[in-house]
């Protein structure tokens, strides 16, 4: 939900970039993961102690499911209605806080010199 004031890159480019990044990261990860999963199933079948290896996996699955339920519940209760709000509030407050501050930070060091106001009021 882009805010009209945001200087956002075009959604299309962002989507493409995200997809490319996703593929670059996910493909090798999935190869590794499947590889390990196969290895793991061999461990479970071959080794009596290997069954123990189920413990963390079951842990993760249970915790992840619980978390997912929580997430759904929170969404239903409208908790993500204005999820992007705080990021704008934060910026506008920064401006108000700095309104009276001297401009001592050079632009190259991240400063934002204020436009010259009618000084002295």
């Amino acid at each position: 939900m882009p805010h009209p004031e945001d200087k956002m890159p075009s959604q299309r480019n962002v989507m493409i970039a995200t997809a490319v990044m996703g593929v670059i990261i996910l493909v090798p990860s999935m190869v590794g993961f499947v590889n390990k999963l196969v290895e793991f199933s061999h461990v479970i079948q071959g080794d009596a102690d290997g069954a123990f290896a189920m413990t963390p996996i079951v842990n993760y699955i249970l915790a992840t499911l619980g978390f997912l339920c929580l997430l759904l519940w929170a969404t239903m209760h409208g908790m993500f209605y204005d999820i992007e709000g705080p990021k704008r509030t934060m910026l506008s407050r920064e401006d108000e806080l700095d309104a009276d501050e001297p401009d001592t930070v050079p632009v190259w060091a991240g400063g934002h010199p204020k436009p010259k106001q009618s000084s002295g009021a």
Binding site: K87, M90, A109
Partner: protein
């Protein structure tokens, strides 16, 4: 969306001076820089010892073994902790619009923390270490440090508790960091020392080193980025919603990974597999965070070159992504066979601690020192040198050590005589010193720049007067 603006406006924004105790921020930053230089010097002592040219060999108080511990502890508790505390004293009041619980408490904590750091250094140099990596703090200092962490949490949680409604992402990270740091420190320093032993203590120790990075340094670092990147770019973070994934993913997966530091130890194998799995999971989470930040920069790429703090931040993020990617590889059993106990790990640790978190903090200091000292930087050129020497130095050092680690691993695996692994390391260790000197030189530029800036005297900029005048006028 309109609702946001309605909720924003009624809040009365206090004046910056009522919120932030700038003196304390400056003290913390200066203290952190002192420990930083001490830590770097300690690193050199060990580095010169490794290439067998330690000019100070044979002096008890300058023993490289003891200074190696000073090196790591000064970075964690001296540099990072102090710099983060300074940053928190700036960020938390401004984000919450409430000052910290008590300014006198801030000053007390400042003093107490310097006491903790200095007595840790003294204890280590006198040979009183505790056998816990990164927790070598002598046992008698642990309770003081623990109390200090508690006070820090109380001091900052007070303003945070006054905020109503959903919080900005930075504050999520900070709240979590306060609890986690407290719990992690307690767990690491007391449990293996007094309650458990052997391999189980190893598991706790692994959890401690890991959590110190993951639950103390990382959340404070990312919280800091979520604050400074938007205000320096003057635009909001790309997606506040996506940052939920980053935060909760970190919160869930990161603490589960401690044992991956001790793969192939007598710690039960199924736990080791669990730690490996969650490590790989967290790399995916990290990717969402990095994407979020690059989404924010998108369209403002020019600022990477024009805006030095932004350049520090994003360079750190690139390094962060590299280390995390490296981590996903090195944590697998296959890689561990080869690289465990080698310089690969040392290279990785330097890339994370200096290449990421120190660079972020140096970027923040580049932005904040002119505001704290009320004067412009003396020289941009020196700042540029600071950046390039640091960036180049750490890349060189990490690459060199990671490569050297591979050769060491192969030498051991190939059952070469032990001396062989030491001999082949020599060129890598020598190169590391050169890289270290570059980093050291970079920091000298920064400190020289800071000194000259301080000498300039307060800016006679007209900007400083209106605030006073306006305060009177209103």
């Amino acid at each position: 969306m309109s609702e946001t603006e309605q909720t924003t406006d009624p809040v009365e924004v206090p004046r910056h001076a009522e919120l932030v105790d700038e003196q304390v921020v400056a003290w913390y930053f200066l203290a952190s820089l002192v420990y930083f230089m001490v830590s770097l010097s300690g690193g050199f002592l060990m580095a010169f010892q490794l290439i067998r040219h330690n000019p100070l060999d044979g002096v008890e108080l300058l023993s490289p073994g003891r200074w190696r511990m000073v090196h790591t502890n000064a970075i964690a508790y001296g540099f990072l902790a102090n710099a983060f505390l300074g940053m928190l004293h700036w960020v938390v009041p401004r984000l919450t619009l409430h000052p910290v619980l008590d300014r006198r408490l801030s000053r007390l904590i400042f003093g107490a923390w310097q006491f903790v750091v200095l007595s840790t250094a003294a204890g280590l140099l006198l040979g009183e270490a505790q056998a816990l990596e990164w927790g070598e703090t002598p046992v008698w200092i642990d309770p003081v440090a623990q109390l200090g962490l508690l006070l820090v949490a109380i001091n900052f949680m007070a303003p945070i508790c006054k905020v109503q409604g959903p919080l900005y992402v930075t504050l999520w990270y900070f709240i979590a960091a306060f609890i986690w740091t407290f719990l992690t420190y307690a767990m690491g320093n007391f449990v293996p020392e007094y309650f458990v032993t052997g391999s189980s203590a190893g598991a706790v120790g692994g959890l401690f080193i890991h959590d110190l990075v993951g639950l103390f340094v990382t959340p404070l670092g990312w919280g800091m980025m979520y604050y400074f990147v938007p205000i320096l770019l003057k635009k909001p973070i790309w997606s506040h919603g996506l940052s939920l994934v980053g935060f909760w993913g970190l919160a869930f997966f990161y603490p589960l990974q401690g044992i991956h530091h001790f793969l192939y130890t007598p710690i039960p194998m199924f736990l080791q597999y669990g730690a490996v799995l969650s490590t790989i999971a967290v790399e995916l989470v990290v990717t969402t965070v990095v994407i979020n930040f690059f989404g924010t920069l998108w369209g403002d790429g020019r600022k990477f070159w024009d805006n030095m703090p932004i350049r520090w931040f994003y360079t750190g993020m690139v390094y962060y992504f590299l280390t995390c990617f490296q981590c996903a590889l090195q944590v697998t059993m296959t890689f561990q066979q080869l690289i465990h106990f080698t310089d690969w790990v040392v290279g990785h640790a330097h890339l994370v601690m200096f290449g990421v978190f120190s660079m972020w903090l140096l970027g923040v200091m580049t932005y904040l020192f002119p505001r704290l000292l009320k004067r412009e930087w003396y020289s941009r050129t020196l700042s540029e040198w600071h950046y390039w020497l640091s960036t180049g130095g750490i890349l060189f050092m990490a690459g060199d050590l990671i490569l050297g680690g591979l050769f060491q691993g192969w030498s051991w695996m190939g059952l070469q005589p032990w001396d062989h692994s030491v001999e082949i390391s020599q060129p890598f260790w020598a190169t590391r010193i050169v890289a270290g000197l570059a980093i050291f030189g970079g920091q000298l530029c920064f400190i020289w720049n800071l000194y000259k800036t301080w000498q300039l005297g307060p800016a006679v900029d007209s900007g400083s007067t209106p605030s006073a005048e306006r305060a009177v006028a209103e």
